[in-house]
Symmetry: none
């Protein structure tokens, strides 16, 4: 399920965080469900357990999961997760709007741009499926 791209410039643990967040938001792992253990996942992906550990720690910091010593890691409450993630997206959107305005983009141009971006994403999905 979890695919890593070694050609991606971002560190492995960060890719892992993103994939797991995506999975949780999409419901691949349900609320309160136990995630694979650090060791087993490390073997599965044949990467260093430290890297998994780091990803889990980051997810816990962001409130997506919680870990219980000696028992494992579990998906946190989906309601709160969703909400906090929307806020994150919203912040990014605002940053982008800010940048666009600074560049002199009008509201009309901006909406046209986004409509096109959404449409192209749609097509990309039909072609390739997931991301590169």
């Amino acid at each position: 399920m979890l695919i890593l791209d070694y050609r991606d410039r971002r560190p492995i643990y960060e890719q892992l965080v993103d994939r797991l967040k995506e999975g949780i938001l999409r419901g691949v792992w349900k609320e309160e469900e136990q995630l694979p253990s650090v060791r087993s996942l490390a073997i599965d992906l044949s990467i260093n357990p430290n890297t998994i550990q780091r990803a889990y720690a980051e997810l816990e910091r962001q409130g997506f999961i919680y870990s219980v010593r000696g028992r494992g890691s579990f998906v946190a409450g989906l309601g709160e997760i969703r909400q906090s993630h929307r806020q994150e997206l919203f912040k990014k959107a605002k940053d982008l709007v800010e940048e666009a305005k600074a560049a002199g983009v009008t509201r009309e141009q901006w909406e046209a741009l986004l409509a096109q971006a959404w449409a192209e994403e749609e097509m990309g999905e039909q072609k390739g499926g997931g991301r590169a």
Copy 2:
């Protein structure tokens, strides 16, 4: 004018590139105007000339400025700059759309989000004027 954030994880030269791009797009430096010299800016910001050099080199590569050995660095033609910058914005918008979709955001929710982002930006501008 140029403020650097040393607590920011991003490299200094990258922050510098962004600030200068922003300034150019906002018209702080006019077309064909000479930018501060590598050395003087280095002293001004009390950072190494190499770091400025790197930022200027990147800006030149992206077509925002051009540098002439022995004469200085100058702002390039704004028309071309604007166009290439639009493409960059478009790419960022697509990435954000991708992330939103991965998080299960519907098209309606997405548009509501963006409309709100644009509106809040509008208000922020009326209140505070510029930004840091």
Copy 3:
């Protein structure tokens, strides 16, 4: 394998970029193969690691290689490389045509010139094999 010419006016990092591109296009390094590390190559060529770093960064920008922090630098997909390189060649050819025209060379003379250049290259190859 990699020979640098210190009497050449071009910067070392640029020579390095060219040699490495040539090597990749000739298949000296295969697709996805790991290149020598920044540090080891620096020692090998007895030049500063920064200079290697710069060459690798440029190669990455041009899509010939990709580098992963903590893992190393690797040759990118040859298909894409070949295509972008063709475009580069085309640009150079156009520049040469422009120069020839400025010098009053006619189309017939130009084609004769090129035919001869190709033929001589052919012979050089049969004689000497590779090049420096």
Copy 4:
């Protein structure tokens, strides 16, 4: 007649050399004709006389002109100039052929490429005239 491009990355004196060579090869200055003096040309182009001096010195080194102390600079014999320039072009063409072969370009592809380059140059001339 002599137009300099301050946005060009190449040094002024080098641009000057190229423009003068082009002019001589095109017959703008005839064989044995006297070129403008260093001082007058410097004033004309409002650049440093040193720069003109340097360009003339380079042209003399390449055999395009000869200078007589106290009298001025004169265009050399066109026959020899033309021949040496063809050889220079030929060398560049060979280098390009070499690079193309290294990249796996076949003779057919090569000829198609050059035909296209010539054609595009033709069109460019009709549109814009000189160079950027």
